[in-house]
């Protein structure tokens, strides 16, 4: 089964801890992160997302970003983060 997590519009300092908890709550499952609403991505939430990607990868599970807007993708790559991580991967349930 897969779990859908919708990310809030502003992923700043305050959003980091809740985001981590939200994603961690579905550990062991395939995760779908809906980033359509995200307007602002900050460094701390980027850390959470990168760590989640690596953690899921280590678990052999799929973690997939869905509804990736241009704005999100450009902020993501502005950080120097790999665009490949945004591409669909694993198997969608």
């Amino acid at each position: 089964m897969s779990s859908l997590i919708t990310l809030p519009a502003v992923l700043d300092l305050r959003a980091a801890e809740p985001l981590k908890a939200q994603i961690l709550a579905v550990r062991g499952q395939e995760a779908l992160l809906d980033v359509s609403a995200v307007e602002r991505l900050g460094g701390l939430c980027l850390q959470v997302l990168l760590s989640a990607i690596a953690t899921w990868r280590a678990d052999g599970q799929a973690l997939t970003f869905i509804n990736v807007s241009e704005a999100f993708a450009s902020q993501w790559s502005a950080f120097g983060a790999s665009a490949a991580d945004l591409a669909p991967q694993g198997q969608l349930a």
Binding site: A54, G80, D85
Partner: protein
């Protein structure tokens, strides 16, 4: 203060903005008068840059855009590419006004910014910067559009968490610099340019905690030139082990283009204490030099110990760069490179972070170390110290009542305690004391604007800006001073033509001065205009029924009629001074602070408003006296001398108004018990004591009381807050025996005394 950390930081930002605006104004005015130098220009640049940086962090785009244009011109000035002439300074002054508007609008305290005015100034600034209204695109092709980040996305290889000991060495594709071709596009003098900068940046958790973000810094860098960003996430623990507010990422940015090291450092201006930062020049000819980076030290996967020895890494990385043959030495290469001693424990402040301090060339003034403290905390402290003073007084009284000898150890110890208490109180009060500069600094702008609106030429001369007074008083001074300055220019000064016709210089002068006088702060606003038209003022007062037609008034009394409610002398209501409701409101707000306002005028020569306020609203040195069975406190600052009146020195004017001879002068006597309404009958002089007091206006009076009980420092408790305003009383206090005593308002008391004696002025000619 808000619980929301973001809002709290924003509040701090706006506080800083107001300080920065003050600095800006001061420095621009120094430039205007020719007192400025390169450090002044640098200071202006820094102020604008700081506003811009903070505004960027809060996404205040309008403010950022305006500040950017402003800053660009300042950069031209400080680099010497543009001369700082009179026209430029005048434009900068107006730009600082608009910058203040943008800040006020962003803060929500001001009206929306006048877009046309702002755009007009942007155009003016750009003309000064580039010689034409539109930014010279050809000259700066690498400046990315604000919405186009221009980043080159790079592949990130995340480390496997299972193998902390085997970290991938840094993959550096960024060094295959496509942007090294840039000189072809950009300036022809490629040889003089640096190839760019390699910036290694590792934020600390503090950086995020103070509402900064890497995204903003990266974005700022893209404004400088072409960037390629590489992210090292190898220190990132697994999600479970991750502390979401800790910082684990390291960025390496290669910035290419004609950018000075100072410009790069400026981007990190706000965060340099909150990150590890290394900025090294790229050598266009030998990109391979950079590939000699040693492998990263082994990272510990545990989040508690992100052992990252950036300093050591940099030290090693730098060596090959320096060893490489340098074909075209960049001008900035001479700048001191950050020294990189071995980093101590990761928790300790990084030595790399402090290194940039060595880079700026101009020696900046050493600023005193300060901390920001919530005002509530200071006030709580002041309250508690106030209670301590009261308690100490009560204890002293008990000890005295117990009959202990004055020389006993307890009594002596108590005296020491009193001195100590006093020291504590003075120190605590000093925390709240602030120079009036913060208010005075706002006035040049006001004067410029009012002068423009009224078509008058005005020079503002300020003095005593460093005079300190309680914060509350400072804050409440702004409005009355603003109003009186407007009034002075609008009503006081004549038009340039009128002035010339009267044989005065076309430019009028308004003086704004602050000084300490007899334990109070006095603010004077003086103009060299036409002075008050007394017959007209009098006529209006009669017309409005404010005074009787046959009232006999001194010149001063006529002048002070303008403070009566609803009095307006402006025949046409102007935008500037409003509807004439102001002066009585000004007087009321000053009175509410325990202050007084008066005006003196010299026809044809000008008028002077004098505002007098207590320095603090918390403590007072007072003389405790008794009158008609009541304990009262007279402010010590007003008392000149105390004496026992001799019957032969007292004379009566008109049979009932007593005056006393004091040092060859006759001084009117005020029977305190009677004037205050404690008793109806007149005191007999025998057995009473007289205190000679001096009023604000400098006149003297003799206050007659029953006895003087001693001198004491008292804690002021507002009567208005707990009861209501009482004529002749400025506040109340609690004495050592726990009783409440009223603090006398000397001036009001003397005036009331005159009124009771039904004589407006008592000047004895023996």
């Amino acid at each position: 203060m808000s619980d929301d950390p973001f809002e709290a930081i924003k509040v701090t930002f706006f506080q800083e903005c107001s300080e920065l605006l003050g600095d800006l104004e001061t420095n621009l005015l120094a430039l205007e008068t020719g007192e400025g130098d390169i450090e002044t220009i640098n200071a202006v640049f820094r102020a604008v840059h700081s506003v811009k940086g903070g505004a960027g962090a809060f996404g205040l785009e309008d403010l950022v855009r305006f500040a950017h244009v402003f800053e660009t011109l300042m950069d031209e000035l400080r680099s010497g590419r543009k001369e700082c002439d009179d026209v430029t300074v005048k434009t900068l002054l107006r730009a600082s006004d608009v910058l203040a508007d943008h800040i006020a609008a962003a803060q929500g305290t001001g009206a929306p910014v006048d877009a046309a005015r702002s755009a007009g100034l942007v155009a003016e600034l750009e003309v000064l910067t580039h010689g034409q209204a539109t930014p010279a695109v050809a000259a700066a092709p690498v400046v990315a559009d604000e919405d186009d980040f221009g980043f080159k996305p790079l592949t990130l290889d995340l480390a496997d968490f299972g193998a902390p000991a085997e970290l991938p060495s840094l993959d550096l594709p960024a060094l295959d610099l496509p942007s090294l071709d840039l000189p072809d596009l950009a300036a022809p003098s490629a040889a003089a340019l640096t190839a760019g900068w390699r910036i290694v940046f590792r934020p600390h958790p503090r950086l995020y905690a103070s509402a900064n973000d890497v995204s903003l810094l990266l974005r700022e860098l893209t404004r400088l030139g072409q960037t390629s960003v590489e992210l090292d996430a190898s220190g990132l623990p697994s999600l479970e082990a991750l502390d979401a507010e800790d910082a684990h990422l390291i960025w390496t940015i290669v910035l290419t283009g004609d950018v000075t090291e100072a410009a790069v450092r400026d981007v990190f201006d706000f965060v340099e204490m909150d990150c590890d930062l290394s900025i090294t020049a790229l050598d266009g000819g030998s990109p391979s030099a950079e590939t000699a980076l040693p492998p990263l030290p082994v990272l510990d996967a545990a989040p508690a110990e992100p052992a990252f020895d950036l300093a050591a890494l940099l030290a090693q990385a730098k060596a090959p760069v320096e060893a490489a043959p340098v074909a075209a030495p960049a001008p900035v290469a001479a700048a001191p490179k950050p020294v990189a001693p071995a980093a101590p424990a990761p928790a300790a402040p990084s030595p790399v972070a402090s290194a940039p301090a060595a880079a700026p060339s101009a020696p900046a003034a050493v600023a005193p170390v300060t901390i920001r403290v919530d005002l509530d905390r200071v006030d709580r402290l002041i309250n508690v110290v106030g209670e301590l003073v009261i308690q100490q007084a009560m204890l002293a009284q008990r000890v005295m009542e117990s009959g202990l000898a004055r020389s006993s150890d307890i009594a002596l110890g108590l005296e020491d305690l009193e001195l100590l208490t006093r020291d504590i109180q003075d120190s605590v009060m000093a925390i709240r004391a602030q120079p009036v500069k913060s208010v005075f600094q706002r006035m040049p702008r006001l004067v410029r604007e009012v002068a423009e609106m009224t078509g008058k030429r005005v020079r503002l001369v300020t003095s005593g800006e460093d005079t300190e007074v309680d914060k509350t008083v400072v804050e409440r001074l702004a409005e009355p001073i603003t109003h009186m300055l407007r009034n002075a220019i609008d009503h006081g000064l004549e038009s340039p033509e009128e002035r010339e016709a009267a044989g005065k210089p076309a430019e009028g002068t308004v003086r704004l001065a602050a000084l300490h006088r007899s334990g109070r702060i006095v603010i004077e606003i003086a103009d060299d205009g036409k002075g008050i038209n007394r017959p007209r003022v009098r006529g209006i007062a009669v017309d409005r029924g404010l005074i009787a037609e046959d009232a006999v008034l001194t010149d001063d009394e006529v002048d002070n009629l303008i403070f009566l409610p609803g009095f307006s002398t402006a025949e046409t209501i102007t935008d500037v001074s409003g509807r004439g409701v102001g002066m009585d409101v000004v007087r009321r707000s000053i009175q509410a602070l325990g202050g007084r306002i008066s005006i003196s005028s010299n026809p044809g020569k000008g008028s002077t408003f004098t505002l007098s306020l207590p320095l603090t609203l918390a403590v007072l040195d007072g003389m405790v006296v008794s009158a008609a069975g009541q304990t009262l406190v007279a402010p010590l600052s007003a008392i000149v001398e105390s004496l026992t009146p001799r019957i032969e020195d007292v004379h009566y004017v008109g049979g009932h108004d007593a005056v006393i001879r004091f040092r060859e002068e006759f001084v009117p006597m005020v029977d305190v018990g009677r004037v205050m309404g404690f008793r109806d009958d007149a005191t007999t002089l025998t057995g009473g004591v007289v205190m000679i007091v001096e009023t604000e206006a400098g006149s003297r009076a003799a206050l007659l009381v029953d006895a003087i009980n001693g001198q004491r420092q008292v804690v002021i408790k507002s009567l208005e807050t707990h009861y209501r305003q009482v004529d002749g009383v400025s506040a109340a206090t609690i004495l050592g025996d726990g009783s409440v005593a009223l603090i006398l308002d000397i001036d009001a008391l003397v005036i009331a005394g005159h009124r009771k004696s039904n004589r407006p002025e008592l000047k004895m000619a023996s």
